[in-house]
Subunit: 256 residues, 2 copies
């Protein structure tokens, strides 16, 4: 039996009671922390759960996953994952491999930025496809045209775009919204389709699910100058705003 | 202080440790259960939290919300809400009203079907706008053209559509996927744009987050005959499938 347990948005407190129960039942417990930033403390988590928790590193993931699947044939293995577990395709693949081997699989869902974005006041059913703004070094300095196109297509339909900002969690490296906006402005210079300009309104949602989460709304030219504090962040390019969305966003308006 | 605490997908076990902590700090605790189906047990929840919990009914919501806001000026009020709290626009409006009155607001996020759909193996960033299939009696038998159009627009871009099925929770009335498919087939008869036919492939995700959740994948003409068991359900119309999505969906394939 393999159980993927979501850790939720922020720290060990975002684990659900169901998640705690599943971890307590497990023979062995693993955690992976490289698909997103997790602000919890593993020592706290060990104390809380009174269990040994083995940390998986990205470097040995392939090999260890094979070992985990072998173990899961006989034992109950719990794997703790930041956010809601199957958002990262790597865990989705793990489940697929487990099922192919006839291993029983359970998923304990948890809070995720995919629904937490509703805190911005933007209507969740009006979000179109989402995309990521990649670090230029990952794309050999090629501009993220596909990301620009996702925003363009959503905008055409009046839909909002949720943009994830690239991260290399194990190096503690997170793209900040300012860098993401600059990359998209550069892409605009090439594409010239008026999709992401200095006058485009955007929302920045920082540290979702934490005690000091914050939301900013304004024009790119004003937001690009702001210090948003600690990661993580998401950037949202709103589509056509309903009047209730407009009213809500006023709460987060940055003065020009 | 007003704290909205998400109850998560299924029952009292989907409450997070953060949610428990916030409820324990509160002077008064309310729960509303009419925006979605919640399978928890209020008596269990009271025992678990060792707190009195007052149930809000839809019928007196407006008036009671006003009272809650009045109380929240002086006291710590916690409102328990199924799923992730701000998905329902009614709670989003409540927060807005609270903030206008200068009341401090906190949100404790929880699991939601918006991210749980990743359990189908469909890539979450490829979901376009979502929509609801309404009960015919709500729309005076008018077909849900706008829902049909959302599917069409998503499909054009290769995106998946998450469809919510109408519910009247207080009457314990839930549209089942069979009824939803029949409504969409009828809409197809009128629209004739080849968006939702008997040969369209769909995914039905039942009881997300529960011990007996299940996923079905197949053609409408085959799925329409299946008994999906207890609610809730969501219906997904996939767009263009990546090969990893195809491989994953095979796990849930219904034989013709």
């Amino acid at each position: 039996m393999l159980t993927l347990v979501g850790l939720g948005l922020w720290d060990e407190k975002d684990l659900s009671l169901r998640g705690v129960e599943e971890v307590l039942k497990a023979d062995e417990v693993y955690i992976e922390l490289y698909t997103s930033r997790w602000y919890g403390n593993i020592e706290n988590l060990k104390r809380l759960l009174k269990k040994e928790i083995k940390v998986l590193e990205r470097s040995d993931i392939e090999e260890k996953y094979e070992k985990i699947l072998e173990k899961a044939k006989e034992k109950c293995i719990a794997l703790l994952v930041p956010g809601d577990p199957l958002i990262a395709t790597t865990h989705s693949s793990l489940i697929l491999e487990a099922k192919k081997r006839g291993i029983e699989v359970k998923v304990v869902h948890a809070s995720s930025v995919y629904s937490a974005v509703a805190e911005t006041g933007l209507h969740i059913y009006k979000f179109g496809a989402s995309a990521t703004v990649p670090f230029p070094e990952r794309t050999q300095e090629v501009l993220p045209i596909s990301t620009y196109e996702v925003i363009r297509e959503n905008k055409k339909r009046g839909l909002h775009t949720l943009l994830f900002l690239d991260l290399i969690a194990e190096e503690n490296k997170f793209m900040n919204p300012n860098e993401a906006m600059k990359i998209l402005l550069k892409t605009e210079e090439t594409m010239k389709e008026n999709v992401f300009t200095e006058n485009t309104h955007v929302v920045v949602f920082c540290r979702a699910g934490s005690e000091n989460s914050s939301i900013f709304y304004g024009k790119v030219k004003d937001l690009v100058k702001i210090d948003f504090g600690e990661p993580p962040y998401v950037l949202i390019v709103p589509g056509k705003l309903h009047f209730t969305e407009k009213e809500y966003l006023k709460l987060f308006k940055v003065e020009e």
